[in-house]
Symmetry: C2
Subunit: 400 residues, 2 copies
C-alpha cells in the first residue's frame, strides 16, 4: 500500500547519484558546486529540493498502486535523464517524450521504455524515429492519420524494423489526434494490418483539463472528455485488436484517470516539480493543490533596492518565462514578483513580510515548470539547502 | 552619407563567413545544412535572412552617420558572436552585454570593446568581471551605488587591474540605476576618486520607452525621460569628470536619441532581427515600424489538419515564447498563430489566404526576438531561402 513499487529514499538516491552530472565539459565546473550552499550559487540558478522531489515520486506511485494503474511520466517537463532514471526506479513503467529529438537524447542516455507523444510527419523525422526503434525495442510512437500510418509502415520496412504504434485520439481539444469512434477504430485496424507496424493501443492526452480549477470540475471534465476514447478503446478490444496501452492524463488528473474504463497509465510530468500554475488548480480539499510539493525553485539575487516599494532581481523572462500566475517568493508574504522584463525581475511590496537589500538572495516557485526548465543547462539538486548533485538538462532546447 | 562606416554587403559577408559556425561538436551536424533549402530544415528552426540582416545593419549605421552619434549594439538580443562581429564590421564602436556570463562568452570569442549594462553585486561576479577586464582592456562595467563602487575598487585592486566604470543612471523606470542629479554626480565623483577605477561616463537605458506606440509619443517620452540624465551628464563635464560615454537608447529610439545633448551611442539590439512587438510600435510615417526589416523567422511544420478552421504546428511556447503580439505567419492573411501550448502552435483560420495540410511548412515572425533566440542553440543564416551559414548562439542561456 501507499509506497508499493517505490524504493526507499536511500535507494532513490543511489539511482540519482548514478545518473548524476550527465553532461560533459560545461558541467565540470558546475559540479564544483557540490557540497556548497545553494545560497552561494551564481544566480539565476535552477534548483530542485531532492527530499521534495523524492516525496513527489513516492506520492504519484502511491496513488498508482491504490488505483491499480501505472505511471509513464513525461520527460517534456524535466528534459533530464537523471530524473527519468529516478522515475523509473520509483516504479514507472516507462517515460514519455514530446519530440523525436527528446526521444533521441533520452535513448542515448539509456532511458526506456519510451513513448513518443507527438506524431512525426516529415520523412526525415520518420527515419529518425525508425533509427531510435532500431536500438530500442521498447520505443512506441503515435500516429493520427491513415496516410501517416502508411508512411510509418514504409519507413519501418526500409529500416528493417517493426515499429510499435499507438493511435493518438483527440479528447476534444483538436490539437492533435484522430477523432474517437469510427475514425480511430479504422486507423487502429489499418495499423494492425500494415506490414512492419505493431499496434500497441491508444494515446489520448487531455491537456486542456489538467489545469481546470477545483477537483470536482476537473474530475467531471476529465471523465466526460475521455469517455469517447474509452468507448473506442473498448471497441478496439472487441475487434480483437491489441489494446494493451491506453495512456493519457497528467498531474491534474492523476487521481481521476483510473476511473476511465480501460485506462492503463498516467503521463504526469509537472508532479515532480510543481509550479504556480498547478498550485492554483486546487485539490480535493482546498484552493491550493497540495498533492505534490513545490520542489523546483529559481534562486535569484537582488540587484537594486534604491527605490521605494520595490526591488529588482537578476531573474527576468529569460530565467522564469512570462507565464502566469507569476513566480511566488518562497516563505514571504506581501510581495509580488514579476518577470516581465527579459533580464530583470521586479518585486513590488504591499505590506511585505520583509524587504531586501542589494546582494540579498531569495528563491521563487516558477510560474510554469516545463518552459522554465527548458531555459537552463543544469539543475542543482539540493538537500537541506546543500548542493548534493548537478544534473544536466540534456534535452534542453530539443523542440524538434 | 547614409552608409558611411558600413562596408558593402560583400565585405560584410566575408566577416560573416569568418565568424561562421562557431560552436563545436554539436554544430558539426548542423553545418551539413549549408547549401540546402531552409524549407528542408528540421523544425522548429530559427532562421535569419542575411540580406535583410545586412540591410538592417546598414540602416542603423546610416542613421548614426546622419545624426553624428555611434552605435553600440546590444548582444542580449542575438547572443551570437558571429552577429556581434558583423555589427562591429558595420561600424559599431562596441558591443553591449547584459550579464557577466554573456560578457565572458563574447570576450572568449574575441568580441570587443564590451560594455556591460547590468551591475555585478556579489563578490563572485565582481571577481569574474575583473578577470574579464584582465584580458580585455576595452571592458567597461556599470555601477549604481556607492557601496558597489567601493567593492569594485577593492576587487580591481586585488586583481591588479584598473576597472573602467560608467555610472548607471535611472531614466525613471526604477529598475536599475541611481537617481540622476546630485546622487549620480556624487557617485561619479566617488568613482573618479577611488583607486583602481577609471570613470568613463554614464549609462542610461530607457527600456520602457522603446515600445511606446507612435513616433511622436515615443519621441516626446524619450526626450523627457532622458533630460535629467543629460543634465547630470553636463554637470559631470562641468565638474571636470571624464564623461566620454553617454550610452542608452534602443531600436525604438535610435533616431531620437541624438536629440539628447551629450548622448554618444545607441544600444540597439532588436534592429538586427525585428519582431511582432517592434512592428507594432509604428514609425514616423505609419502604423507599422518599417525602419528595419523582419529578418528573423521560425520555420515550423504542420502536424495536424484534421479539424475544421484550424491547424496544429510543431512550434509552441518552447519554440516561440508566449509574448504578445503573437507570431505572424509570413506572406499570409486571415490566420492567427498562437504559441500558447508548450509543444504545439495553433493556427486559427478566419478567411485565410490559404489552408495547410499535414507536413506543410510555414514561417513566422517571432513575438519578441530576444527570449526566442535564447531558446535555440543555433540560427541558420539564409539567402534566397538557401542556408549559407550556421551560427552558434554561444551565449544562449547565459542569464547569470
Amino acid at each position: 500500500m501507499g509506497t508499493a513499487g517505490v524504493a526507499g529514499a536511500g535507494a532513490l538516491w543511489t539511482a540519482s547519484a548514478e545518473g548524476g552530472v550527465t553532461a560533459g565539459r560545461e558541467d565540470d565546473n558546475a559540479s564544483r558546486a557540490i557540497g556548497t550552499s545553494k545560497w552561494d550559487l551564481e544566480t539565476p540558478a535552477l534548483c530542485v529540493d531532492l527530499d521534495r522531489l523524492e516525496r513527489n515520486l513516492a506520492a504519484l506511485q502511491a496513488q498508482m498502486s491504490r488505483a491499480g494503474i501505472a505511471s509513464r511520466p513525461h520527460a517534456k517537463t524535466h528534459k533530464c535523464p537523471a530524473i527519468a532514471r529516478l522515475q523509473l526506479a520509483s516504479g514507472a513503467i516507462g517515460i514519455c517524450v514530446a519530440k523525436i529529438s527528446e526521444a533521441e537524447v533520452m535513448a542515448s542516455h539509456g532511458i526506456g521504455p519510451l513513448l513518443l507523444t507527438t506524431s512525426n510527419v516529415t520523412p526525415d523525422k520518420i527515419r529518425r524515429a525508425m533509427r531510435v526503434r532500431t536500438w530500442n525495442k521498447d520505443f512506441v510512437q503515435p500516429v493520427d492519420t491513415e496516410a501517416n500510418a502508411r508512411d510509418l509502415s514504409a519507413a519501418a520496412g526500409e529500416a528493417g524494423v517493426t515499429a510499435d504504434v499507438v493511435v493518438d485520439v483527440d479528447p476534444g481539444g483538436h490539437r492533435s489526434g484522430i477523432q474517437p469512434g469510427a475514425p480511430a477504430l479504422a486507423l487502429a485496424q489499418l495499423v494492425d494490418q500494415l506490414p512492419n507496424l505493431t499496434l500497441r493501443g491508444m494515446l489520448c492526452y487531455d491537456g486542456g483539463t489538467q489545469h481546470v480549477a477545483g477537483f470536482a470540475a476537473r474530475r467531471a471534465q476529465a471523465l466526460e472528455r475521455l469517455a469517447p476514447a474509452a468507448e473506442t478503446f473498448a471497441a478496439m478490444t472487441r475487434a480483437g485488436l491489441s489494446a494493451e496501452i491506453f495512456s493519457g492524463g497528467g498531474t491534474g488528473t492523476y487521481n481521476i484517470d483510473h476511473e476511465t474504463a480501460g485506462f492503463t497509465d498516467v503521463q504526469a510530468g509537472s508532479y515532480v516539480f510543481m509550479d504556480a500554475q498547478y498550485l492554483a488548480i486546487g485539490g480535493s480539499s482546498g484552493d491550493v493543490y497540495t498533492d505534490f510539493e513545490p520542489s523546483l525553485t529559481v534562486v535569484t539575487t537582488v540587484l537594486n533596492a534604491t527605490y521605494e516599494g520595490r526591488a529588482t532581481t537578476d531573474a527576468g523572462a529569460k530565467a522564469l518565462t512570462i507565464n502566469r500566475p507569476t513566480a511566488i517568493v518562497v516563505g514571504e508574504t506581501g510581495m509580488a514578483y514579476s518577470s516581465g522584463s527579459d533580464e530583470f525581475g521586479t518585486i513590488q511590496y504591499d505590506g511585505p513580510s520583509r524587504t531586501y537589500k542589494v546582494g540579498d538572495r531569495l528563491e521563487v516557485i516558477v510560474p510554469h515548470c516545463d518552459p522554465v526548465v527548458n531555459l537552463y543547462d543544469r539543475v542543482y539538486g539540493t538537500r537541506a539547502d546543500r548542493v548534493e548533485t548537478v544534473w544536466g538538462i540534456a534535452a534542453r532546447g530539443q523542440s524538434q
